[in-house]
């Protein structure tokens, strides 16, 4: 595929992605940080739904020979250290590397700073990668390890079973914590957009 065609496709897919992030409300810092505080679960619901859908889609595509998987290599040190740093950054920024772009689209000005900070973070990594980080990055390397290989079962049935497990969990989660009660009156994940009201309610409560 030519670069131009790939970019047209990327733009179209991104527009759909951005709409879904915006409609699902994970473009809100409140939704992301409250998920990390485990007080509300809109982000987890959307995330796990996307995972379960992906599992079903890939089970079908792999089953019919329409796709070849490209799992990332397992690098225990890099995955643990990098994942933890990423988690801290998400909480400080109130965004993920993808959702920050949806924040920019909705108009949040702080998201522009998050994005520019991200560009500098990528650049710092690029300069540090060959010397400083190589030893950490390659420690605990196991190649493209996947759960289906590990268990010695084909990908499609395992993916479908795992998707079923996730869907079961989501049905339970929705029952104990319905999504409509989680997004707040202003759809920004904040229980009320007026801190004074919140404080008054806290005092009254």
């Amino acid at each position: 595929m030519s670069v131009f065609a790939a970019m047209l496709l990327g733009l179209a897919m991104g527009a759909v992605f951005g709409m879904a992030l915006e409609k699902g409300r994970v473009c809100e810092a409140g939704v992301i940080v409250c998920q990390m505080q485990m007080s509300r679960h809109t982000m987890l619901k959307m995330f796990l739904t996307a995972v379960a859908t992906g599992l079903i889609v890939l089970a079908v595509m792999v089953g019919f020979g329409l796709a070849k998987l490209s799992p990332k290599p397992t690098l225990f040190a890099a995955d643990i250290i990098g994942g933890a740093i990423l988690g801290i950054g998400i909480v400080v920024a109130g965004a993920c590397p993808g959702t920050v772009l949806a924040q920019i689209g909705t108009g949040y000005k702080d998201a522009i700073f998050t994005f520019v900070g991200g560009l500098f973070g990528a650049l710092a990594f690029t300069y540090a990668e060959p010397g400083l980080l190589k030893p950490i990055l390659t420690a605990g390397s196991y190649g493209r390890l996947t759960l289906d290989q590990l268990l010695g079962v084909p990908f499609p049935p395992l993916a479908l079973a795992f998707a079923a497990l996730i869907i079961g969990f989501l049905v339970w989660l929705e029952k104990v914590s319905p999504w409509r009660g989680e997004i707040g009156p202003n759809a920004d994940g904040v229980p009320t957009s007026d801190p004074v009201v919140t404080n008054a309610a806290a005092v009254a409560g």
Partner: protein
């Protein structure tokens, strides 16, 4: 259910749409949905104006050109566009910073929030590049491929995120 003028879809509807995007990603490009490597493509290409020798770094060179890298750059541009259209159609356009921050942090100036956003963005993408993926690449796409490394990275991400969010902010 999928009306563009509604303020919010159920997270399940939105999640299904994102999961379905794996179809064109795998079918046309043989790759999974991801966003964080585009930060390398963009920043390395900009940096090459000031420091042409950056192209000699293998990691930079691997990200600076090619259909897959520019596909992802266009993808994140599309996210801005999609969210812009969606928010204008449903009256959820925003400005400044979210009122959430006043509740989580108490009184602060806009400059403090912007500095925090910049710092958070830096840490976030630096970590994502160490882990070789973010919430979309490792999370949505990696787990959907049952990749062990992605299970590990996502567990570390949520683990550190949960601890940090409960340590540094008031509970909202």
């Amino acid at each position: 259910m999928f009306s563009l003028t509604t303020r919010a879809w159920s997270p399940y509807a939105a999640g299904v749409v994102i999961g379905l995007l794996q179809i064109p990603a795998f079918y046309f490009l043989g790759t999974a949905l991801g966003t964080s490597s585009s930060y390398v493509t963009i920043s390395a290409n900009i940096a090459s104006f000031f420091d042409p020798s950056i192209a000699a770094i293998k990691y930079a060179a691997n990200h600076m050109g090619g259909a897959k890298n520019w596909w992802q750059v266009a993808l994140i541009g599309g996210i801005v566009l999609g969210a812009f259209i969606s928010s204008r159609l449903s009256g959820t356009a925003r400005w400044g910073a979210s009122p959430f921050w006043a509740q989580a942090m108490g009184a602060h100036t806009p400059a403090q929030r912007y500095l925090m956003a910049f710092t958070g963005g830096f840490i976030m993408v630096f970590g994502a590049r160490i882990a070789d993926g973010c919430t979309s690449g490792h999370g949505v796409s990696g787990i959907a491929q049952l990749a062990i490394g992605s299970f590990v990275a996502v567990t570390a991400m949520f683990g550190a995120g949960i601890i940090t969010a409960n340590l540094i902010y008031k509970r909202v």
